[in-house]
């Protein structure tokens, strides 16, 4: 196998010295991590390597020599470098050489032990692969190929292939702590050799994160305790309405979801793996962006007295809707679309629904003086986030179209009763019966008067079917319209909830952090010189970023398929478009 030497690009122009790193025998790859400069004491170099080996659980060694000089290898330097090979014995021993100011590289790998005649060392072809040490150190490979029990202190990294290279660099952080300007006995060159880089803000944030997390976590626990206490008191005497309302109002669900997310972000446990860290970061950024958008909305709403305008437009709007419904009912009570309705049933149903609308209008007019104040105070909750504002909007729509929901329920129940009655009487018409015990249709002999009444009822029901069916159809369509609007709002909320903004931002600004793999570029090749490649990080495509780092939403997706939905509509069963957590049977 060709010997691959991974060489950091930052060390390409440093002075001569020793190559220090890790040898991966399975792939015949030598990963160079740093260059040790002259003068050095071999004992101290070995001590440093032993320390790093203990910290990183990887086999560190001196891999060879690095020579950066004016022209081709000088005689004395050449002998000196070969002498070093005997002090730090490593098999194979690399000799990398570069002429100053040119791009002429030469490298040799000398095997001492693995050859037929132990006197003559055999040489092998070397392939140079340059890598950017800082980027490889900071990047996470997807999918992670290492077995995730590295923190348990396993000696062997079970990473395969190129993931081993990433693993080596990321675990050797201790080697990068000292740089060229330190007073330590061993002078190293690596990506931090111009000085250890750090940011004051990052350090301050790390130092402050501990106490801040504790504070916010305690505040959140107080808030959630208060919320649950609020609900305990009424539970003593009025269990059903409050929990029912809480489960139906999407604003409460959204609030609960956000509280959970915040408590996860500010929990005092440290993140165990990069995935958890990303999830926490995504949640935090999502909450912050949500609150920022909410505040924007708030400032827009409360400027120019828009709340007042909205409140003033609300009552006439509700009136308009009720008027349209009345017109619709008048139309149904006449001859809708040329169909001939049963006059009596038509009038009964029409008057019943008209009375309901009348009640609804008076209720709205009763509320009208308070609408502006209510809207003003409810609009303040937009400061908690845009998703909260959207969920409140969805709830307001649900409340304002409550009468449509009621009409739908009445129409559906009537229609359902009719369908069941018809099906059972149809069986009677044919002389059969539904056997509840055996869950099947059995033949049955009826008395004459049973047959007579049954047939009479069957005829009545079947002639009244078109009227009921028409009312049912109209109100179902209206209800479906409202459900569609609410569904769109919920879709938007879900989108905002689950978008991993931090990961997307990271992919945009620091693409090397999220790596899907590597890519190679062949650098200019000269005859007789070794092959040189540049290894770059292949960033994760945006679609994979979205898939991998999507935040879990509290899943209010419709559970029905289209065919079961149509079936339910046909039979007149009530449809609940989404089930919240803690299903409530109506």
């Amino acid at each position: 196998m060709v010997l691959k030497a991974f060489f950091p690009t930052c060390c390409a122009s440093v002075d001569s010295g020793l190559l220090v790193g890790r040898w991966v025998p399975e792939q015949s790859a030598a990963v160079v991590l740093a260059v040790v400069h002259f003068p050095f004491i071999p004992i101290q170099v070995k001590e440093l390597l032993a320390q790093v080996q203990q910290a990183s659980q990887l086999g560190m060694a001196v891999l060879g020599t690095w020579c950066h000089c004016q022209q081709e290898l000088e005689e004395s330097l050449g002998h000196f470098l070969e002498g070093l090979g005997t002090i730090f014995s490593h098999d194979p021993w690399l000799q990398l050489c570069r002429e100053k100011g040119t791009r002429c590289w030469s490298c040799k790998a000398i095997y001492h032990q693995v050859s037929s005649s132990p006197d003559t060392p055999s040489e092998d072809q070397v392939m140079l692969i340059f890598y950017d040490q800082r980027k490889v150190l900071l990047s996470w490979l997807h999918p992670p190929m290492t077995v995730p029990n590295c923190q348990a202190g396993d000696v062997t990294a079970s990473a395969r292939g190129l993931a081993a290279i990433f693993d080596t660099v990321s675990r050797s952080k201790m080697l990068f702590h000292s740089d060229r300007f330190d007073e330590s006995p061993v002078r190293l060159s690596h990506w931090q050799s111009e000085g250890v880089e750090a940011s004051i803000l990052v350090e301050l944030a790390k130092w402050a994160s501990g106490p801040v997390c504790l504070l916010v976590a305690s505040m959140l626990s107080i808030i959630s305790a208060a919320v649950s206490a609020l609900c305990v008191l009424p539970r003593l005497w009025n269990l059903w309405p409050l929990s029912f309302i809480r489960s139906k109002l999407s604003a409460c669900e959204q609030l609960r979801h956000r509280l959970e997310q915040l408590s996860l972000v500010f929990s005092t446990q440290k993140a165990q793996s990069p995935t958890q860290l990303m999830r926490k970061a995504n949640m935090l950024v999502s909450v912050l962006v949500d609150v920022a958008l909410g505040l924007l909305l708030l400032s827009w709403l409360y400027s120019n007295d828009r709340i007042g305008q909205l409140a003033n437009a609300l009552i006439p709007g509700a009136d308009r809707v009720a008027e349209e419904l009345q017109h619709l009912l008048q139309w149904l009570m006449g001859a809708p679309a040329g169909l001939k309705m049963n006059r009596a049933l038509d009038q009964v149903l029409g008057r019943f629904f008209l009375y309901h609308i009348h009640l609804w209008i008076s209720y709205i007019h009763l509320m009208s003086p308070f609408i502006e104040h209510i809207l003003w105070h409810v609009g303040l909750s937009a400061c908690l986030g845009l998703t909260i504002a959207l969920s409140i909007l969805s709830d307001i729509i649900a409340l304002l179209t409550f009468h449509i929901y009621c009409f739908y329920v009445y129409g559906a129940r009537l229609y359902c009763l009719k369908i069941y009655g018809l099906s059972s009487l149809w069986r009677l018409f044919r002389g059969k019966k539904w056997n509840v015990l055996r869950q099947r249709v059995d033949s049955c002999s009826y008395d004459l008067d049973q047959l007579f009444i049954g047939t009479l009822l069957f005829t009545i029901l079947i002639f009244l079917l078109p009227t009921t069916a028409l009312y049912y159809l109209v109100f179902t369509l209206l209800r479906l319209l409202v459900v569609t609007v609410q569904g769109l709002i919920h879709l938007l909320m879900d989108f905002i909830n689950s978008l991993p903004l931090y990961s997307l931002g990271l992919r945009l600004c620091r693409p090397y952090r999220l790596a899907a793999g590597v890519k190679f570029r062949v650098l200019e090749q000269e005859a007789g010189r070794p092959l040189r490649l540049l290894m770059q990080i292949n960033p994760l495509p945006y679609s994979l970023v979205l898939c991998t780092y999507r935040l879990p939403s509290y899943g209010c997706h419709p559970k029905h398929s289209w065919s079961s939905l149509c079936c339910k509509l046909f039979l007149g069963e009530l449809i609940y478009p989404w089930r919240q957590r803690g299903d409530k049977q109506d």
Binding site: K4, R160, L162, G517, F520, L533
Partner: protein, 159 residues
């Protein structure tokens, strides 16, 4: 006994500009309203840019490096490049496959992948040069070079 890498590049046929120009001319003639016209032109431009960035592949490259792996790059008309790298551990073989498509037989080069745990089973087939679709003579050349390198790779197995 030189370590080697081979590099193959295939180009796709050019974009047809005339139909787009005809479309824009039709749109201009049929719409007198400037708002509709400008929005239609804007949408067409956006669609064109999207097509150039996501669909139209200008050049496809195959780079095979001894003992490292095989890399496939597609460069789009807008300059975007998408790269896939397959490590040598996972490569079982490179073959030319035949397929019967409607009334003709087409040849395409593909890479057979294997799971390192099960070296005798083919886990995946990855076709190469899907957009350029070179003819059999080009494919045979590429195939021969790849087989040289793979043979060299198999001759010196990993320790």
């Amino acid at each position: 006994d030189e370590c080697s890498c081979r590099h193959f590049a295939e180009s796709s046929p050019d974009l047809y500009v005339r139909p787009c120009g005809d479309l824009i001319a039709c749109v201009w003639l049929s719409f007198q309203n400037s708002m509709v016209l400008s929005s239609a032109i804007f949408i067409t431009l956006l669609g064109l840019l999207g097509y150039l960035h996501f669909v139209k592949i200008d050049q496809e490259t195959l780079l095979i490096i001894d003992s490292l792996g095989i890399q496939m790059t597609s460069s789009y008309a807008s300059g975007k490049e998408s790269t896939t790298f397959i490590e040598m551990d996972k490569v079982k073989d490179v073959i030319i496959n035949e397929a019967i498509y409607m009334q003709k037989v087409i040849y395409y080069l593909c890479i057979l992948l294997k799971d390192p745990m099960e070296p005798h089973e083919v886990s995946q087939v990855v076709p190469v040069f899907q957009s350029a679709k070179p003819r059999l003579d080009c494919l045979i050349e590429v195939y021969r070079s790849c087989q040289e390198i793979l043979a060299h790779q198999k001759a010196t197995p990993s320790p």
